[in-house]
């Protein structure tokens, strides 16, 4: 039944890891749970690849959940950007899971290992769902699935500080998610729909109202918390530092990326017709606020990273800076800038995936990743550190690595906008990256290992292989950009020139009384009751 299978790919993509997750609980031997999770994630990756093919062949893929037509039912929409994101997330997840085996056995108590894989697959489900769904409330549900499992994953770290880090992440993450819900509630209040495409069609009629402005503000803050945009990044360093290595690698490579994807989706397609990003906040007519925050993130993140001793924390701060790059590119709202932001999202996933995998291997063998204990590491673990060097060079943006390509487009975008502050900020922040990376390399390569240092073996092959795949991917995507830039450029064009398709002109079977929608039906009329404007046309939200 290949056709039945191929027609249901978008649902399978999300449902497969969701159903598989609890099954892990029955697989007590750690190896078994690991292999099962790996198989599931590999299958998810295969589905994502098939989706890329299907989307490339037939255009965007609309899938009606449970056979309910949009906008009544929940719709899954896979457009080219989505299919690529799915590929990225499942691909990274698979690589991380290959890597996970030995690292998890070393860092997680034996009895908790099946639970670990349950949570990992749930987190994957959430991330995939966020990308696949075409419904803003459904997106919130998946956001919480991934977030809740992430909090628990972070808390599984060995150090007691992992608990407080997870707690802080939970508080801030839940605040962010709730802000997001408030935002979409207000949107729903004004438009009566939760379907993304439908929202985009209806939003121009009510775009000028204060309710929508407030909604935009709530959405922006909520998502900024989730993607750790300066100054709402407080949760990130602790969470990355104390989470198990596998979790850090996975989070750094995917979680913030998916949050950025959501930001782009909400602000440029759902709210795109009213140029929401440009009116943020309402007081300013330009995107200055977001750009300024992005620049501050780039500079402060890189500067703080220079003074860190714990390498996981160092690269966590670097991640904050890199999020700044992506948001900066997106805030330019030009094809080049958006391409730069999105391509950096992909490239940074590979960079940080490799960096944190290398650190995980170091932790496995040395027991810590404190810079004061890594003298001569380049000679003690040469294979691991060589991959680390490649990823680190890519982080700096040395030509020939993927990081260079991102910077090329970001700087070009800033130059096209004649914004010299942005140009300078990108370049200066790269130079700060040179400093913090050189600190590490100098210790690892130009300081002799202490005489009493125990001889360490290289990390096992299952950890080195995915690490090197990512490291080499950094070089490949630095020299050959047909896929990365080609795809993101198409996506940028799609996003910036988004026009919602002709939706079905529908009348609700229950509530239709002939009234249309309009700004004059906003809240504040009707004594606390929202009048006819609430002819909600939506099937029940997802119940899980």
């Amino acid at each position: 039944m290949p056709s039945l299978l191929s027609q249901n790919l978008p649902a399978l993509q999300v449902v497969l890891p969701l159903i598989a997750a609890p099954l892990c609980l029955f697989l007590r031997p750690p190896k078994l749970a690991w292999l099962f999770a790996l198989a599931v994630s590999g299958a998810a990756f295969a589905i994502a690849v098939a989706l890329v093919g299907a989307v490339a062949a037939n255009g965007a893929f609309n899938y009606e959940m449970g056979g309910w037509a949009a906008p009544w039912g929940i719709e899954y929409v896979i457009d080219p950007l989505d299919s690529f994101m799915l590929c990225l997330v499942t691909g990274i997840a698979t690589l991380v899971l290959i890597y996970a085996g030995p690292s998890v056995e070393a860092e997680i108590p034996r009895g908790q290992i099946p639970v670990f894989y349950v949570l990992f697959l749930l987190c994957l489900t959430g991330l995939l769902g966020m990308v696949a769904t075409g419904d803003v409330f459904n997106l919130f549900v998946f956001l919480e699935i991934s977030s809740l499992s992430t909090y628990a994953l972070v808390a599984m770290g060995r150090d007691p500080r992992a608990l407080t880090a997870a707690y802080r992440y939970l508080i801030l993450g839940s605040l962010g998610a709730t802000f997001y819900v408030i935002g979409i509630g207000l949107l729903y209040m004004m438009t009566g729909t939760l379907n993304m495409e439908d929202l985009a069609r209806r939003i121009p009629e009510v775009g000028e109202t204060r309710t929508i402005s407030v909604a935009i503000a709530f959405l922006a803050v909520g998502l900024a918390l989730k993607l750790a945009l300066f100054p709402l990044h407080k949760w990130l360093p602790g969470a990355y530092t104390h989470a198990p290595s596998v979790v850090t690698a996975f989070l750094a490579a995917t979680a913030t990326k998916v949050a950025i994807y959501v930001l782009v989706r909400i602000f440029f397609t759902v709210l795109g017709p009213i140029d929401a990003f440009q009116t943020l906040p309402a007081a300013m007519s330009e995107t200055q606020v977001v750009s300024i925050l992005a620049i501050l993130a780039m500079l402060s993140g890189s500067a703080v990273a220079i003074f860190q001793y714990n390498l996981k924390r160092l690269f966590a701060y670097s991640s904050i800076a890199q999020v700044g790059y992506m948001i900066l590119g997106i805030s330019m709202a030009s094809i080049t800038g958006m391409t730069g932001g999105l391509v950096h999202m992909i490239n940074h996933a590979m960079i940080k995936g490799a960096v944190f995998m290398a650190l995980g291997a170091v932790i496995l063998r040395i027991g810590a990743c404190d810079i004061r204990r890594l003298d001569g590491l380049g000679y003690r673990m040469p294979v691991t550190m060589a991959a680390f060097v490649i990823a680190a060079l890519s982080l700096i943006g040395v030509p020939g690595t993927s990081g260079f390509i991102s910077k090329l487009y970001l700087v070009k975008g800033a130059m096209e906008a004649q914004n010299w502050v942005m140009v300078t900020a990108v370049l200066v922040s790269s130079l700060l990256a040179v400093i913090y990376i050189w600190r590490v390399l100098e210790v690892a390569y130009f300081r002799a290992a202490p005489a009493d240092a125990p001889k360490v073996r290289e990390a096992p092959l299952v950890m080195l292989a995915p690490l090197w795949i990512l490291a080499l991917a950094n070089i490949y995507f630095g020299l050959e950009t047909t896929y990365s830039v080609g795809l993101t450029e198409a996506a940028a064009d799609f996003i910036l020139n988004y026009v919602p398709g002709e939706g079905p002109t529908w009348e609700h079977p229950l509530f239709d009384d002939g009234h249309g929608y309009g700004a004059d039906h906003g809240p504040g009329h009707g004594g606390g009751h929202v009048p006819e404007a609430e002819q909600g046309a939506h099937a029940p939200g997802v119940d899980l």
Binding site: P399, G400, L408, V411, V423, S430, L431, W438, F446, R447
Partner: protein, 493 residues
């Protein structure tokens, strides 16, 4: 056309061969003799490749090798043009010589981590070849940064605190200028022209005018930190902590020449002489180069450490090239190209001599060199020839390039530049000749026979004799270099 390869394949082979050498070095690290034999063999093969391209280039062929597109409109591409051919010939020829020299030096001084040393060295040569044959700015920048990265481990080779500090300065300045300034300039070019190809007559000709030209030119001249125009020159003296073969080939030839080569290439092929001649204010940027020539010479006068004096002399000589290129007269641009060649042979000789003294006598300061000329006659004889070439006295190669620079400056009525060149010639003489005088005309301090020494090991002596001879021969037979330089400016002016 050599070893059955056509010209395109030869370009590819010139890049792959040194990479192969790096790989072989790592694989064969356990057997030093095989390791160095392999490197030498590859170096000879590379030389043959590069020189096989000379004939076709002289008759006007411009073979190219275009790989895939990295970003839309900008492929990874290589093409051979006269200036690149000059640089490639110098780098490949002197690599052979330096390899021979290194064998003597590294073993004579029992240096550690020799495998890492040879491997990084070979990668630096890969990048030198890539820079020489780069077909566009992106390719050039790629190899430019590869060169920076591959040479850092050579600078910090000793692993001492001083070496690490120097490594930081080296990496900081070279990366800082290239990412902070040069990259911005390259992206601006990409934005303005839509491509990054080197176009005879100038990529930007007709696409930009007025003060933005000046800004862009300044970004390039200062962003190409390897050209060591003040105030971005401090990395070069810092790099002198490296073993002498590194200082000789890389910090007198490959790395620094990559810098000035890029400047000349940008002036000729990105801006074009016409565009710059039509822009007011380029003399201000040339003034920085002129200032560097004089200031670095004054600093060199006061250095007692031989390698540091040579380093400051290099800074000064590099700015000759930058200045000559920015005089913007065809003859002076030819002079710039020739000076790349002349200075390479002269300065590598001087560094070889410094390393020879260090290996044989373990002396690093000029004040220790009393009477050393009689103990090491070949070394100090070569040093003398190298000095003459630096000053520009016939019959050495330095005279040829200076002659063209001055003729060009005269054509362009650049009196200030002429004054700078004359003043600096006097300064050159006054910091090189006293060394020679001290070596031959003073009486050596008495030493106990236990610590007495003669000439350095044979490979060292052979290498430095060869380069000194080269400095002389290039005065008498500069034809092919001259012909290449003429083609650079489109025929003899």
């Amino acid at each position: 056309m050599i070893f059955g390869l056509d010209m395109t394949q030869t370009i590819g082979a010139s890049l792959i061969l040194p990479a192969l050498a790096a790989l072989l070095t790592l694989v064969l690290g356990r057997w030093p003799n095989v390791r160095e034999g392999a490197t030498l063999l590859v170096a000879f093969a590379l030389g043959a490749m590069v020189f096989s391209l000379l004939g076709p280039v002289l008759v006007g062929a411009r073979p190219g090798l275009t790989l895939w597109e990295v970003i839309p409109g900008v492929p990874l591409a290589f093409s051979v043009e006269p200036l690149g051919q000059i640089f490639a010939m110098i780098a490949s020829l002197l690599w052979i010589v330096t390899t021979i020299y290194s064998v003597g030096y590294m073993r004579g001084n029992n240096e550690h981590a020799q495998t890492r040393f040879y491997a990084c060295f070979a990668v630096a040569i890969v990048s030198a070849m890539g820079i020489a044959y780069a077909g566009n700015l992106l390719t050039l920048f790629l190899f430019y940064e590869l060169m920076t990265i591959s040479t850092v481990p050579l600078v910090t080779h000793k692993g001492t605190d001083e070496a690490k500090r120097s490594g930081r300065v080296y990496l900081g300045i070279l990366m800082g200028t290239s990412i902070g300034l040069q990259l911005a300039a390259i992206i601006a070019c990409w934005m303005l022209a839509g491509s990054l190809d080197f176009v005879p007559g100038g990529l930007l000709a007709g696409k930009i005018e007025g003060w933005p030209v000046l800004v862009l030119l300044a970004l390039f001249v200062f962003g190409i930190g390897k050209a060591a125009v003040m105030p971005f020159h401090r990395w070069l003296p810092a790099a002198m902590v490296a073993p002498t073969p590194v200082s000789a080939l890389l910090h007198a030839v490959a790395v620094v020449k990559a810098g000035v080569f890029t400047v000349v290439k940008v002036v000729v092929y990105v801006f074009g002489l016409d565009l710059l001649n039509g822009t007011a204010g380029t003399e201000w940027i040339a003034a920085f180069a002129g200032f560097t020539i004089l200031a670095a010479s004054f600093v060199a006068l006061r250095q007692d450490n031989l390698k540091r004096r040579l380093a400051y002399s290099t800074i000064s000589q590099l700015s000759y090239v930058v200045l000559a290129a920015l005089i913007l007269a065809p003859l002076s641009v030819m002079g710039a190209a020739l000076h790349i060649m002349a200075h390479a042979f002269g300065k590598i000789t001087l560094f070889f001599a410094a390393g020879s003294i260090y290996t044989a006598a373990h002396k690093t300061e000029i004040s220790q060199l009393d009477g050393i000329g009689w103990k090491m006659p070949v070394t100090m004889g070569a040093f003398f020839i190298g000095s003459l070439s630096m000053i520009g006295v016939p019959p050495t190669a330095g005279f040829v390039s200076k002659w063209f620079m001055l003729s060009g400056a005269y054509d362009a009525q650049a009196w200030a530049a002429i004054a700078v060149i004359f003043a600096s010639t006097v300064l050159n003489a006054s910091y090189f000749l006293p060394i020679v005088h001290r070596a031959f005309a003073t009486r050596p301090a008495p030493v106990d026979p236990e610590h007495d020494h003669g000439e350095a090991p044979t490979p060292i002596v052979v290498a430095l004799s060869f380069t000194a001879l080269g400095s002389l021969l290039l005065f008498f037979f500069p034809d092919s270099f001259l012909a290449l330089a003429e083609q650079l400016v489109g025929g003899r002016p």
